[in-house]
Subunit: 150 residues, 2 copies
């Protein structure tokens, strides 16, 4: 059996540390990205990513164990399985969008083509996400504090 990750961060009181421990792995994040893009089958992920089969097996297992994917019987009647996002998994959408928006802004040359995320109905790109106060005002990092433990 392939090993899972270190896990030592799961005892941390910082939610960032725990979240990083669960999903901040290159293959894991790309699998989740593809799931938001509608992929569900082992072969869909495997071909799209060019990931080694054993790696994909490992990542899918971890994602299911983490409650991010759930396994369902294949919708086409074959005896295989589909990996679909749970509610917990779907709530990773803002995280994937945050990766995307930062990448769009900072990792492409002027005029260089990139794949874009659009609102299907309007064809418009999304608004740039930013943290806001409860009143809806955009907040800058310097205006925030971490309260150590609650």
């Amino acid at each position: 059996m392939l090993t899972s990750k270190h896990q030592h961060l799961q005892a941390e009181p910082c939610p960032v540390a725990r979240a990083v421990d669960v999903i901040a792995d290159r293959w894991t994040l790309l699998v989740v990205r593809d799931a938001f893009d509608g992929k569900r089958r082992f072969g869909d992920f495997q071909r799209g990513l060019g990931i080694a089969r054993s790696m994909l097996t490992d990542r899918l297992r971890n994602l299911v164990a983490a409650g991010i994917f759930e396994v369902k019987p294949a919708s086409d009647g074959t005896s295989y399985q589909e990996y679909v996002l749970t509610s917990k998994g779907s709530q990773l959408f803002p995280l994937i969008v945050a990766f995307r928006q930062w990448g769009e802004r900072h990792l492409f040359d002027e005029g260089e083509a990139y794949s874009q995320l659009l609102e299907t109905a309007s064809g418009e790109p999304l608004e740039l996400m930013s943290p806001t106060t409860v009143n809806g005002r955009t907040i800058r990092p310097e205006e925030t504090t971490v309260r150590k433990v609650r």
Copy 2:
């Protein structure tokens, strides 16, 4: 010299893939988190994270090379350096907040304590970030499409 990362994703047209390639590494993300928490010195990061010195050297080097940190002379007059977020680095704030908010909601038991991010002035936690259309309406993953290349 310690090696940098694979880099093969930097040719990808998907901004998520490129961004993942640059920053989706456990230590890298925790260093950036600490930078938002005000840390600037090698020793600050090292003690806070318990990271091996050589690992920290490698991560800081990569972060500077990626334009996320810039090196400045120490503000206390010593001959050492400080690592401060550039504008590009500061724009990772929504990403870190996305990790935090997902972690808060899904990786702590009911009533379990966690370190919280607050608006300093009001003491209030931030609003839950979510992707919106240009009109400000919250959008769900199923309402979006990736347009392959532009």
